[in-house]
Symmetry: D2
Subunit: 382 residues, 4 copies
Amino acid sequence: MSAPIRGPIRLGMVGGGEGAFIGGVHRIAARLDGQFELVAGALSSTPEKAHASAQALGLDRSYDDFTAMAEAEATRADGVEAVAIVTPNHRHAGPAIEFLKRGIHVICDKPLTATMDEARQLAEVARASRALFILTHNYTGYPMVRQARAMVAAGDLGTIRLVQVEYVQEWLTEAAETKGSKQAEWRTDPARSGAGGATGDIGTHAYNLACFVSGLEPQALAADLSSFVPGRALDDNAHVLLRFAGGAKGMLWASQVAPGNENGLRLRVYGEKGGLEWAQEDPNRLWFTPFGEPKRLITRNGAGAGPEAARMSRIPPGHPEGYLEAFANLYAEAARAIRAHQAGEAPPLGTTYPTLADGLAGMRFVEACVQSSQANAAWVTL
Amino acid sequence: MSAPIRGPIRLGMVGGGEGAFIGGVHRIAARLDGQFELVAGALSSTPEKAHASAQALGLDRSYDDFTAMAEAEATRADGVEAVAIVTPNHRHAGPAIEFLKRGIHVICDKPLTATMDEARQLAEVARASRALFILTHNYTGYPMVRQARAMVAAGDLGTIRLVQVEYVQEWLTEAAETKGSKQAEWRTDPARSGAGGATGDIGTHAYNLACFVSGLEPQALAADLSSFVPGRALDDNAHVLLRFAGGAKGMLWASQVAPGNENGLRLRVYGEKGGLEWAQEDPNRLWFTPFGEPKRLITRNGAGAGPEAARMSRIPPGHPEGYLEAFANLYAEAARAIRAHQAGEAPPLGTTYPTLADGLAGMRFVEACVQSSQANAAWVTL
Amino acid sequence: MSAPIRGPIRLGMVGGGEGAFIGGVHRIAARLDGQFELVAGALSSTPEKAHASAQALGLDRSYDDFTAMAEAEATRADGVEAVAIVTPNHRHAGPAIEFLKRGIHVICDKPLTATMDEARQLAEVARASRALFILTHNYTGYPMVRQARAMVAAGDLGTIRLVQVEYVQEWLTEAAETKGSKQAEWRTDPARSGAGGATGDIGTHAYNLACFVSGLEPQALAADLSSFVPGRALDDNAHVLLRFAGGAKGMLWASQVAPGNENGLRLRVYGEKGGLEWAQEDPNRLWFTPFGEPKRLITRNGAGAGPEAARMSRIPPGHPEGYLEAFANLYAEAARAIRAHQAGEAPPLGTTYPTLADGLAGMRFVEACVQSSQANAAWVTL
Amino acid sequence: MSAPIRGPIRLGMVGGGEGAFIGGVHRIAARLDGQFELVAGALSSTPEKAHASAQALGLDRSYDDFTAMAEAEATRADGVEAVAIVTPNHRHAGPAIEFLKRGIHVICDKPLTATMDEARQLAEVARASRALFILTHNYTGYPMVRQARAMVAAGDLGTIRLVQVEYVQEWLTEAAETKGSKQAEWRTDPARSGAGGATGDIGTHAYNLACFVSGLEPQALAADLSSFVPGRALDDNAHVLLRFAGGAKGMLWASQVAPGNENGLRLRVYGEKGGLEWAQEDPNRLWFTPFGEPKRLITRNGAGAGPEAARMSRIPPGHPEGYLEAFANLYAEAARAIRAHQAGEAPPLGTTYPTLADGLAGMRFVEACVQSSQANAAWVTL
């Protein structure tokens, strides 16, 4: 909870107009620690809607589209220093490229893009840009996820053998996309979401989390994708086998059609010496079992939790921090990185956030799942 | 997540300098929904510390003390519209009175004051003031607490018979107050905390929550207070029997010496037709059992949750909201009430926050616990 | 799971005819480890019903009443060596006295009797008898209850400060006794149950468990009893404050009117160095928190569990043992004690079962609760 | 808890001498409801050990080997009516065949045999025999498993889409088979266990449970088996994808190397209308979510539980029944079937137990897993 040494970072937003879900989340996350101030936006691809949304938010600088915004802001003395991109997947690459080209830092929602082509274009620009690119795989912002990662890295589990991860939802059990749900519409639409349904929307989160915590390098996968709801173009369930460098193996299950599950992201990692279990719906607790000893409950800021969790945490143990705080942690990491970048310094020790590489890995994950499934769950190298 | 119709409310703060816990919480809570902007403060009773803290926070208007602050801010055109008081208990009444006298709204941490005398003085001023007084019994801001209250009020449980509440901690199991913990020092010091230890610090929360959800009027209590740690002047454990108007009964347990408990605030309410269970450390879930039917899990924004929970909630089910969000909900209620007050209108339907009356009830609870315990747990009328 | 060195002990039963609940439990418990064989019974106070029940059970020796049974069995070479008494409370003392007088061991359901007078008469006979008296406070047979007791005794928690116990049910939320439930009829009838309702039926279990695990000597209690259901003669809810020798304190809650609770017997014990938590509905797990360390899960026969739990356990960890096994553990303890008694030896080290003293303590608990409640929850010395 | 209409069924046992685990479980299960009496045995393949074990159990008729036993018992008027086979897998077929040939009912531990050849031989004999063959896939004896099966069959979940099952253990995380564990020795030995390690020992249970509850017919699987512990000949981890007739899909995970898991058998079934979740370590609870409604907790004998669970249950809700009771339920089903068979009648309505067909399906499951894994997780038809 240390304070800004100067005023907040000036933030712009692309997408996130009225009715959007994730835009509001980004705004709260950006605001929570006082490190960002939203000053400009192109909040919708429909200019009227964009301006109405801006007015509702009390936002003075509202643009017709992201290109106009990028051009104008890049030339203002008080122009945005960073931009949050919270559009549907097929509208990530366009604005990201525009802002990166102008040296404005990009905080982009996942997955990276809708198509692999877009991803490659974006990657090229990002690599050439002097600006930072931060991908909001927000679950990596949970304190106990950081704790788990640190414990694995410290060898508390020994060599990792197994990574079991799942992200299970129920909301698409019925054909919500035909019943007026805008969220369901674009998330089941290949034109807007890309080749992956559950795979892209939540499978990438599960995959990213598994890699983030285990530190393992995935080598191959075999995937069996399904679209259980009649008429649905994208997968709503993914059964995936994983193989990692060094011999570890895993299973990944992503589903949007499992009644009784809201956002059931759950990770279990097992090594030669111990095991870890974590669930996103109960995020302040991490279960650790050293083989041959009783299972231990490590709580955020409680006994057994280390500095990696503490730096992601605002309040003492027993008062739960949740999804918005985890999301805000990525914004706080972004702020540290941006300020260091502006000062020409290295970011503070421990600063960690998902990057372009994670985004490309996620795109490759979706692509490989689709390839494998089309080949009857044959192994595809990652 | 509706937006401000004008800029944020200008907020001041008394207390909350570096090293304080609850001040930081109030700042996040005020900021989270973008409804308040911190613009001035008297952040410590030591001016140097106050100014250093203000500088660290990037706060321009820093005052030597709350009196100077009240006087100056009341005369500025852009003076604070509301002030958050986050000092130790014995320094609540003083600043609250100064700001209320000048028509500035007060958002005050609990318990109301350190002594009943102070409470009465404050009450007198508050009643005479045109300004609002909001007490941050923050647990009433949890969405599922609102849900529970609404269900009881709607008669889902029938006539209430039993209210079992507890707030259990471990942090004072040893004499932390002699080992350098500032939090422990003032919270175990009668001069700064008042007559109640666990009773005042957490017992008042439990008591407030029990009354808030059950809607019952307490009539009498019998209390057995203990100070288990040698040399501790205030109670660190309270065993309390409760009787309510209409015949309902209850038990309240507050403890700071129960290893294995972080912030174990737990409420169970039982009526002729059903029962409810809620725990603060798992706040997004409410368990409801209609007698003779299977127990049901009602989640924040999930099936079975009603509008009272929804208006306290920012994101869909399955992504946990926590302590800071609940705290921010009280600030959001305060913002609604303040804006309505400024507009000369009634606050939006459903606006609910703890008031002076709750503060006085809490003070009476502590006083009655001490009286009862001194009389060997005799019944004391409330 | 060591085997009998000779054939099973010949067991008789008084009560437990068709429609009874606890009789069937005793029969399974007696049979589970192969240590007892049921050979005779006076299964009902109505001879016809007794004989019909005996026939249904394939029991050859069926008696009109317990007196006839005691007389006949005492003179047979193959007469019963022990008798299980599973009648309603007001019919415990009579048969127990008859069998004890004849040197036949008695395994008696709790509470000891319906009245204190009966209890004293029974105690007198029991003390004069050469036979053993075993009271089935069956929850003391759970392996993890033994584990908890051993940990407290070993000082793992340091000096005990707090004992919080509750036994919470829902089944009498409505007036089941007027709707044909025989169980409800006798358990709410002072003539058959004695002075205590919830207090006697389940409060005695909670009280016994608290004392068994904590090893503390109760000194005084203050009780607020209620009969929430109109027309109910006995208490259906008990709120009790406890004080123990040495300064520890406790709360006991027994209720039959809390919807959502089946057999919610839950014990929490806290000392200067740590805390323990156990719940009957999840009996294979014990939570232990050494102060300042992560909470640990100790499972039956798992890591961290000691010999006191292992000797009460039949199978490896992870395969749950339940209520019947715990009940059978008391029968196994009884078998060990009876066989040692027959051999003129001391029972095997560690043999532990509830005795007459526990029964008298339970009776005194009920009596004191009623006295205290009639005196407006004044303290009553135990 | 209805009583035998005649004396208990005379039971023999093959295997289960001292030091064996599962033999003791069968003996308790057989005894628990008073339906069987153990009267003869060939308790070990080493005659001296067999006789010593018999003596320790107080068993008069002890045989040198199962052939001698089958011959002798088949000719006695009071010979065994049924025999329990509790040997290692490679010694199932031999005795089963001997007894079946003589018309003696067989209750056999799983998996059916060590090899597919043995399985086929046994199947041929079993089909020709007039005696019953009961396979103790004991988890099908849990009341809430029966409840789940009944709910699926009744259409409460609609058409099933997903079956997620896992059986996860930790006990072979290290090379216990080289450190003196007899259980580990034979269970990791292809000569005694067959081609499957975790697959055969626990994977077959998971597979059987998935089919039993879902009622689905498996069509194909793809398996990735591992032996993580160096030097281990059989798999200790199995990752399996499943496809069922009608389009449902599933995942099965069996592991013996996941620290923190004791007997983590967990089943989740999802259909178009709802979902079910059950875990063996908490067996008295079943979670049911009708899509769009709150999750419901159905407890054994509690509200919402039906007759299929009730007939597998002995005591009221809230008093847990466990593993031994579930195992005993299969013995009770066997007793019903045997008595009906002896009377020339159909077994009572609802009598359900795993049969030869389940055993063959389990053998095929193991075989297919090994085939698939050897073919790099290619799909293998079942």
